[in-house]
């Protein structure tokens, strides 16, 4: 028990360190000392120091915080879907939830007049919930919802929604959705204080609800029947988890596009560190996910000499082999 608490503390420290490292990384040379000065509000007079402070506080800090929120939210969402489906290989992408969110966000960008910035996360959430409900209803039978059917329906609904996304991007009037292609690959470059502020309440609320549901999530690992017989109101907990996990994934997609594999890798790593008890797993996965995505973003910004890679490319590059490793290790039984 004590060990678990120290693991969470270490993960918190790692997340802070990743943020500071991210603030010191970029095309403009800013030293670690300048970063710390800027964070402490000790901005020295004189142009170079002032510029450094501006770069750190108004460009890099929002980006780092956005990375932390996005990575944390995707990981929490992954933890929730994995418990819900009793399958360590599930995540918002496999279930078509992220694709639903992307369709929702694109609808908002294409159909709503003027600046559709504020309703964007909400529309993405609606898209995510609609996709999740469609998957749920299609998978539902009189005897209940089996996890195999649920994943199968997720793949089918996801394929359909991806086709819709391609159609919408291809047919959109020129200039209507600038950067759509980059956004679809997953991008943190849109990190502005406004976006961080927009995402924060969704992520905070979603993660808090998952934390409160943690005992129910523990029991969900026993399977529907055993959880029911152990005293859990299974259908209610399932519905609450589904909505919350969709909220997290949806709001993140609205702000930073489709970033894959974080919701799959990070929960696995967090379980290795801290076990399957969700009361500790939810915060641990959030912190680890935040750290992971910030580091992936640092890599995305530094590996290419000619500019930035979308962070989604980096997570997929590291995530897909890891997924294969998990699949082979589990002998395909998961």
């Amino acid at each position: 028990m004590r060990r678990a608490d120290s693991v969470i503390a270490a993960l918190g420290a790692a997340a802070l360190a990743a943020i500071v490292l991210s603030l010191a990384t970029g095309p403009a040379a800013v030293s670690l000392g300048q970063v710390l000065d800027a964070l402490a509000g000790r901005g020295a007079e004189g142009t170079p120091a002032e510029t450094a402070e501006r770069i750190v506080l108004s460009l890099r800090l929002p980006r780092a915080l956005l990375g932390c929120l996005v990575g944390g939210a995707l990981s929490s969402s992954g933890v929730a879907f994995q418990a819900l489906l009793r399958n360590p290989l599930a995540d918002p992408y496999i279930l078509g939830v992220s694709a639903g969110a992307a369709v929702g966000a694109l609808c908002a960008a294409l159909l709503l007049p003027g600046d559709a910035f504020l309703p964007l996360p909400f529309c993405a959430f609606l898209g995510a919930v609609l996709a999740a409900s469609a998957v749920f209803l299609l998978a539902r039978r009189r005897s209940g919802v089996s996890r195999e059917r649920l994943i199968l329906m997720g793949v089918i609904v996801g394929a359909f929604l991806n086709a819709l996304i391609m159609l919408m991007v291809a047919l959109a009037p020129p200039g209507r959705i600038p950067g759509a292609v980059y956004w679809l690959m997953g991008d943190l470059g849109l990190g502005t204080p406004r976006r961080v502020g927009l995402l924060l309440p969704y992520v905070a609320a979603g993660t808090a609800v998952l934390f409160l549901l943690s005992r129910g999530l523990d029991l969900m690992l026993l399977g529907d029947d055993a959880a029911f017989q152990a005293g859990l109101p299974v259908e209610k907990v399932k519905a609450a988890t589904y909505v919350t996990a969709s909220l997290l994934a949806g709001s993140v997609v609205a702000v930073s596009g489709l970033i894959g594999f974080v919701g799959l890798i990070v929960p696995h790593g967090a379980r290795v560190l801290i076990g399957s008890g969700h009361r500790r797993l939810v915060p641990a996965a959030f912190l680890l996910g935040g750290t992971f995505l910030i580091l992936a973003d640092i890599a995305a910004r530094t590996v290419s000499p000619s500019g930035e890679l979308p962070v989604g490319a980096v997570t997929a590059l590291s995530g897909a082999p890891f997924f294969l490793y998990l699949l082979r290790r589990n002998g395909g039984k998961a």
């Binding site: 994995q82 009793r86 399958n87 360590p88 409160l212 005992r215 129910g216 523990d218 029991l219 690992l221 026993l222 399977g223 029947d225 055993a226 029911f228 017989q229 152990a230 005293g231 859990l232 109101p233 379980r271 290795v272 076990g275 399957s276 008890g277 009361r279 589990n330 039984k333 998961a334």
Partner: protein, 261 residues
């Protein structure tokens, strides 16, 4: 008339067009150890699921402490009745003690942690099932038989008065089969627990079961003391197997030995 602890009257259940239970009557009194026998697919598991409220009733009447299972709240029900299943979460790294402690859920607040009482019950369950040494092992790392004992331990930890067990000795070797029935007998004597055990272990059931209910073709074919139920005729009719039924010279219990075709 005193209400039975658990009772089924004229229970019918069908999966689509296949009728599994065609009018089952069964009563269990407090402190009884009843063994449910019958061939594969006869509806033993279905009956246990109906008792635990997991499956709806198509016709007939079921009651737990005189009330229909559906009238209980989930946690209220789980404090009265626990179920030993077979499907443990091996895909996730969960230790034996974490798994066993999940049995305390109906006694805790939804948001609460383990209290001293919960820990005490967990220790007792681990001790009774001989899992103390394995408590920190992950469920995926132990043998099927050890997992089966962990499932029993979780049900003990749940602290319910009635235990339903679906083939709890399926993966156990002969030592642990005997140990399992010893545990149930001990729970019955020390805690006044009543158990309904679905099993295929004819001779061992005869040794420990006070009453045997033999299901065949969706109905109760015979019910009573082991020597009344386990006769060559009954076993042939239910399972389609020729057997010799004699007595164990050491204990006097019925012994069922299959005969080669």
């Amino acid at each position: 008339m005193s209400a039975a602890l658990l009772s089924a009257r004229g229970v019918r259940f069908r999966y689509r067009e296949r009728e599994v239970l065609a009018g089952v009557d069964l009563e269990m009194e407090e402190g009884e150890l009843v063994v449910l026998l019958g061939p594969n697919g006869v509806g033993k598991s279905t009956l246990l699921k109906i008792f635990s409220g997991l499956l709806p009733l198509h016709s007939g009447e079921v009651s737990l402490l005189g009330r229909p299972p559906a009238s209980f709240g989930r946690r209220e029900m789980a404090r009265i009745l626990s179920v030993v299943g077979q499907d443990l979460p091996v895909d996730f790294p969960m230790s034996v003690e974490e798994y066993v402690a999940l049995g305390r859920f109906p006694h805790q607040g939804f948001f609460g942690g383990l209290a001293a009482e919960d820990r005490g019950q967990r220790e007792r369950a681990l001790e009774m099932t001989g899992l103390m040494e394995l408590r920190r092992c992950c469920l995926g790392e132990i043998s099927a038989g050890e997992r089966q004992r962990a499932a029993v331990a979780r049900a003990i930890c749940q602290g319910a008065k009635v235990m339903l067990m679906d083939e709890p000795t399926a993966f156990l070797d002969i030592y642990h089969r005997v140990a399992f029935y010893e545990i149930v007998t001990r729970l019955k004597a020390e805690c006044g627990i009543s158990a309904l055990v679905a099993s295929h272990d004819l001779s061992l059931c005869a040794e420990y079961g006070e009453r045997i209910v033999l299901l065949s073709a969706g109905r109760v074919m015979a019910s009573g003391r082991p020597e009344e139920v386990l006769t060559p005729e009954n076993v042939r009719m239910a399972y389609g197997v020729e057997v010799t039924c004699d007595r164990n010279p050491a204990t006097g219990a019925v012994r069922v030995t299959p005969t080669r075709r």
